[in-house]
Point group: D2
Amino acid sequence: MYKLASKSVAERSIVRVGSAAFGDGGFVMIAGPCAVEGRAQIASTAEFVERCGAQMLRGGAYKPRTSPYAFQGLGEEGVGMIARASAQSGLPAVVEALAESQLSVLCEHVAMIQIGARNMQNFALLRAAARTHKPILLKRSASATLDELLYAAEYVLLEGNPNIVLCERGVRGFDPQTRNLFDIGGALRLKELTHLPVIADPSHATGRRTLVEPLVLAAAAAGLDGAIVEVHPDPGAALSDAEQSLDFAGFERLMSRLDAMVRPQFSLAACR
Amino acid sequence: MYKLASKSVAERSIVRVGSAAFGDGGFVMIAGPCAVEGRAQIASTAEFVERCGAQMLRGGAYKPRTSPYAFQGLGEEGVGMIARASAQSGLPAVVEALAESQLSVLCEHVAMIQIGARNMQNFALLRAAARTHKPILLKRSASATLDELLYAAEYVLLEGNPNIVLCERGVRGFDPQTRNLFDIGGALRLKELTHLPVIADPSHATGRRTLVEPLVLAAAAAGLDGAIVEVHPDPGAALSDAEQSLDFAGFERLMSRLDAMVRPQFSLAACR
Amino acid sequence: MYKLASKSVAERSIVRVGSAAFGDGGFVMIAGPCAVEGRAQIASTAEFVERCGAQMLRGGAYKPRTSPYAFQGLGEEGVGMIARASAQSGLPAVVEALAESQLSVLCEHVAMIQIGARNMQNFALLRAAARTHKPILLKRSASATLDELLYAAEYVLLEGNPNIVLCERGVRGFDPQTRNLFDIGGALRLKELTHLPVIADPSHATGRRTLVEPLVLAAAAAGLDGAIVEVHPDPGAALSDAEQSLDFAGFERLMSRLDAMVRPQFSLAACR
Amino acid sequence: MYKLASKSVAERSIVRVGSAAFGDGGFVMIAGPCAVEGRAQIASTAEFVERCGAQMLRGGAYKPRTSPYAFQGLGEEGVGMIARASAQSGLPAVVEALAESQLSVLCEHVAMIQIGARNMQNFALLRAAARTHKPILLKRSASATLDELLYAAEYVLLEGNPNIVLCERGVRGFDPQTRNLFDIGGALRLKELTHLPVIADPSHATGRRTLVEPLVLAAAAAGLDGAIVEVHPDPGAALSDAEQSLDFAGFERLMSRLDAMVRPQFSLAACR
């Protein structure tokens, strides 16, 4: 059985990335484009989501694409662009690593390293990422049980890196009406099994822009620790994940509704 | 393609059962035991959940049990008991029908007829239940696509019965940590496809008492039309579904949190 | 736990339907159209599949259709047609029952009653069908565990009807490349858990004509007790399941390959 | 869409690894322990499976284990041991790579490199493995669609390495009766979509020793290009996958039955 990831170690862990704190009872919003596509795109998005209240910036530089013919990301150049947008907006950034060779550049330029769903059991990468001592955003693979996800976290913890945030991003479902099946029950059960913070990724979980807002509200109401959502200045022109990205107006509305809901929620949480 | 169930017919339908209204922007709570086990049990539960703000009463008389050796319900006697509890508490009751032969008794005594997940495609039963002209609570089967659920609703609508409430109660998942996988994304997508109200059943969806409250809050925050939850005076002694039933204290806490959350939510909904 | 369906009762049961024997080490082929569409269609199919070596005839009269707008079968008239084709060809027929009200007609005219996947947990129908004392072909529902299927069989056995043949017809999968996911491993595991015969339905399991022959051969090689396949004189004109029905030439080829393979297989089976 | 993996390029490819030829109409058996555990274990297994007619040897040196506390393989030392057993038995060996850093050692010592299910979309590893120009055994991940598997193959093909064998090893199922759900229908559909050879791994697909033989026979009867099975001198003492490994007697029986079945099958295949 996993040990370091279990509740026997602690009731809850708080993972801090810059001024964002996962697991302290608040709800952290991470926002940004699926992929960094250019200097202006990531800079304007960072500035906008910061203004709306997001606490972290996301944006892929190395993209794990099912098809080798799809846009693969801007690579190191993209890392530089999101690093600059992060500095200008003051939002710490999270960027996915696909290979050990990308870790040193990421370490130098971003605040948090993401291990994506496809690499959840790429144990060599997990160990190497852990050893950077950067906080890790670890996504659940599309067919991982909760135990398998916690064992993957255990690989990171065993390297001496305690800063892991888990992310539910949808499991493989049977109905093409949604891209994946958002397992909110599993995410909540996870919080009973581990002290690590757990956030939601409704963009990848559903693949539908219109479902992102209600699922972020659901995640907050249910007591998850945050959400990561895709925001793009012009979703129709996005090089990847166009159907699931919010535009600026959509993100602004989401944040104002979240804000209205979370305030009384906080007071409820206090009385638990 | 289904026609009468689609948005082309109406933007939204309101289904009224006594004073409860599904689909009017509010959040209807249905509560009660998995099965009617005795006069005192159902009466005390009805009285308690009514006091906490529930708008409808649930309780099985004919139980669809995987095993023929499990408690099969009190049958017609159980219908009489829940009818009396319904009358005393003022809460309209919903009871599941497993066979056409049970419909006349149910019609006489209860306000709403449930077609369970196992019978979602029992088309003979669907048609016969529809022809009673009672409101129908139609549960999604564990492996039904949204289209299949809407086609099942279409069978009811074609009999001239427009009063259908759909219910997401979890789809078959691969992780035994939860009994089923609560497809909140699918439930929300459903509301984009149909005008019919959609509610959540977190008790059956997760099989875990501790996950019921956060998932009801999630369903309300996301904009679903209600929830149906299992409540028992003494869950440890329940003849079925002991692990997922709330006790009275748990239900009271859920209702107070829901109440705290729904009020500002309502004002948000109003401005949509 | 189920009792009467378990190996503790017997190592294997043989279920006889006319001259066909399921579970005696041989491989029984059931063939015919998805639905009876007319006198000539069912008569010519019966005659042809009999000539190729099929031991039973299939054909739906009451069709469980996802959509109420799809062809629902010829009903009682269809039962009469398949009964006549059965008599003329000498092949005992199996026809699905969707409702208790259809059982008396079926009992009078056909040799075996099918309970389809959608009704696997329609316990009222299971019990009523069992009490006809006709042999029952019980299909696994698309999301049933093996235990759930065996419990459904237990409902039949408890009514005093020992003549049950189980059928794997595909579980719900996530890849639309096949209509369902043919669980051959589950079907084989079933034979370790129960004494009841187990057959395969590769037509519904895959929804693809081209995969029927290799899967029948696979089922025979693996030691299942038979297969049920859809055959139509003119699949392109079929009123249902056109994509998965074999034409006569395809069925003839399948039977000759099966014949070539099963002969040495038989001698192997003998030495087990 | 994938291009190089599609049928538009070729009707079928033959992949040769030593004297074994995948895709030429024959059925290639790969056998050996889950993990190399010691010199004697791998040597005796290699000698035995060769004597029974296996054409390739398998054995893990770097093991991808869900738990960090489980046996992780003998690493480079294990590679040396299987290389020696391969030389002595004359069977070419396939060993899994978990990281780019392992590729040079593997290239030097083994005939074929396996990319496991967990790394099917580890695109950095896929590309690096492709560039070794060794034949690649690419396993389908537990929740990959056939398209996703073929896109993963496309990553390899685009590096100029045409020698890929695909392997179905079970998808994530919902019934714990089998470890995974062996998707034989998907494997057969794959052969309609691509020219690449497709083999079966019934050991991982089912996790049950007793189901390995019937599923190998099924795979051969259905026309797949081979199978990879786990064989251990003393399965009860195996450091991993004890429940699904055949012992020597079990493998010998499997091979004699396969032999009896494949011979007439071959003549059938010839007349296609």
